[in-house]
């Protein structure tokens, strides 16, 4: 088991699961179906992959500001990633995670890490993300 704690914690909590390292950033809105957790952006190289229960590792978010709603809805339906690891802050995803925690008490921790930790996270098969401490 490889662990990662956030240099910056956007959303707290602990999440663990198999790693899904994205080759390109994912726009949640228009790119993720919250009913199934499937990537539906046909331009995305990993279209068809399912994010549910996995630790999503991508450099940053992308696209529409409605990503927060899609993430919160995915949390409500249980199709959200177990955690998200980024290299750049993404406040839109952060707010989606914060509101989901307020409404449903369920969390999708989101952390921002440095390049070295990010590279290690991409290579990991499984990852435990600890958004409760700053490492």
């Amino acid at each position: 088991m490889v662990g990662v704690s956030g240099a910056v914690v956007l959303v707290g909590g602990i999440g663990e699961g198999p790693v899904l390292a994205l080759d390109e950033p994912l726009s949640m809105w228009g790119g993720l179906d919250p009913a199934t957790g499937e990537i539906v952006d046909r331009r995305h190289p990993q279209c068809g992959e399912v994010v549910a229960g996995r630790v999503l590792v991508m450099p940053h978010g992308r696209g529409s500001s409605s990503a927060a709603s899609v993430l919160a809805e995915a949390v409500r339906r249980g199709t959200a990633p177990a955690a998200i690891v980024l290299v750049e802050r993404d406040e839109i995803l952060a707010v989606g995670g914060l509101v989901a925690a307020e409404l449903y008490g369920a969390s999708c921790p989101i952390v921002v890490v440095d390049e070295a930790a990010y590279a290690a996270a991409r290579r990991a098969g499984r990852l435990r993300v600890d958004g409760s401490r700053v490492g």
Binding site: A7, V8, L10, V11, P25, S27, W29, G30, G31, P34, V40, D41, R42, R43, P59, H60, G61, R62, G63, S64, S65, S66, A67, A68, S69, V70, A72, E73, V75, R76, R77, E88, R89, E91, I92, A94, V95, G96, L98, V99, A100, E102, L103, Y104, V134
Partner: protein
């Protein structure tokens, strides 16, 4: 990298529950957002534009109902983005009635909190818009990029939930694009395509290219003609905010914070410089097209919402002819009222164009479910529709869209892109 957040006395009172339950929840979200942004204080905002009124599922409605039940009222003038329904033309909605009812309930929640029922993704086309240097909290990626770049107002990338939280508290984190440091351009695009820059459709193609290459960095465009109009800048920004996370761009000699390249760079050297030639713009245009043959089932225009100028131009291009396939043009109800005054709306109805207001044809079922190929002049629509609607897209100029609508099949103007 822990930053201590200094809160004002009133911020702390709201957080402690001295105000309404909605103010307390909203302040928790603003404070959480400030932490995510690494901001050390909050600042006052003069207005907000809310995107959370578009129905994406139960979570958005749960949040809005929690705020309404907690006595939520906006503290600053707040406009509303597109919703999932066209209230003026409800017959255009073809979706699930239950989803339609939930979308309507969500719209009512935001109106109940005192937001203005503008229902447009182009709030910068309304009469009241923020001045240069004003701090606002805008959501909707195309509105954010327009506010920062073209108006010189200051908003970070707000999204659903944060927008209304800022409106209810009147506060936003003093971070990101509210501050000078983040507004400096980092990646230069030297656009060397003078012929093509006379073509409207080159601007969404350029936006698509810029967004694909610069991610979340602030791009600087060099070479755009002085006086490049708002419709072109709108199309450019919307496409760049779709293919990338662009929340602000500079166009040297065009946008207010870029009188010179040096000013746009803010005294630092660029991270990278790209040359953009006509072939690059043609490649971007081709990337926005997924359909192969001439077949055409519908035409969708007005993403972001058309301005009065664009509606007038559309009516001129039809020139008394009629669309042979369903043709939709989306706009704000405020713009539609102006267009109706000038007879433009009537001319478009004569041409068989369905004017869609309050919403957008790729966020709600308006286009027939069996439509396979749809043509658009919007880089943003072309980017999102294949995923959202499962259609194939043809991206072209407004004139190509009109000729294709009239012919009932895709018509290209080979001279247009020769630039």
């Amino acid at each position: 990298m822990l930053v201590r957040l200094e809160l004002s006395e009133r911020d702390r009172d709201l957080l402690d529950g001295a105000g309404t339950a909605a103010e307390q929840l909203a302040m928790r979200i603003v404070v959480g957002l400030a932490g995510a942004m690494g901001a050390d204080r909050l600042l006052d905002i003069t207005g907000a534009h809310v995107d959370g009124c578009l129905y994406h599922g139960q979570a958005g409605l749960d949040y809005a109902e929690r705020l309404v039940a907690g006595g939520g009222r906006v503290r600053v003038p707040t406009t509303l983005n597109v919703s999932s329904l066209d209230l003026l033309h409800p017959h255009l909605y073809r979706g699930d009635p239950e989803v339609g009812a939930a979308g309507r309930r969500l719209m009512e929640c935001y109106e109940a909190m005192g937001c203005e029922p503008t229902w447009t993704c182009a709030p910068y086309q309304l009469a009241a818009r923020p001045a240069r240097g004003e701090h606002v909290a805008w959501a909707e990626s195309n509105a954010i990029v327009f506010a920062n770049s073209v108006l010189g107002a200051r908003t970070h990338r707000y999204g659903d939930f944060a927008d209304i939280a800022a409106a209810i508290t009147g506060r936003a984190p003093a971070g990101g694009l509210h501050l000078d440091a983040a507004r400096a351009g980092r990646m230069v695009f030297d656009v060397d395509a003078p012929g093509l820059l006379d073509v409207d459709a080159a601007y969404p193609a350029l936006g698509h290219l810029v967004g694909s290459r610069c991610g979340s960095l602030v791009p600087i465009l060099v070479g755009l003609p002085a006086g490049t109009g708002e419709d072109r800048l709108k199309a450019l920004g919307a496409a760049a905010a779709s293919s990338g996370a662009v929340a602000m761009f500079h166009a040297v000699g065009v946008t207010p914070e870029a009188p010179t390249l040096e000013a746009a760079l803010g005294g630092r050297p660029p991270a990278a410089t790209h040359r953009v030639r006509p072939a690059d713009l043609r490649r971007a245009r081709d990337q926005l097209t997924t359909a192969a043959g001439p077949g055409l089932d519908a035409v969708s225009l007005g993403t972001p919402h058309y301005s009065v100028r664009e509606l007038r131009r559309l009516a001129e291009l039809f020139d008394g002819r009629r669309a042979a396939v369903p043709c939709f043009a989306a706009t704000g109800r405020g713009v539609l009222a102006s267009a109706a005054d000038g007879g433009v709306a009537a001319a478009l109805q004569e041409a068989g164009v369905d004017l869609v207001v309050d919403t957008c044809t790729y966020v709600t079922p308006v286009i027939a479910a069996d439509a396979r190929t749809v043509m658009t002049d919007s880089g943003k629509w072309a980017y999102y529709a294949p995923g959202n609607l499962g259609v194939d897209v043809v991206f072209g100029s407004m004139a190509e869209c009109v000729e294709s609508a009239v012919a009932g099949e895709v018509r290209r103007d080979p001279g247009l892109w020769s630039g």
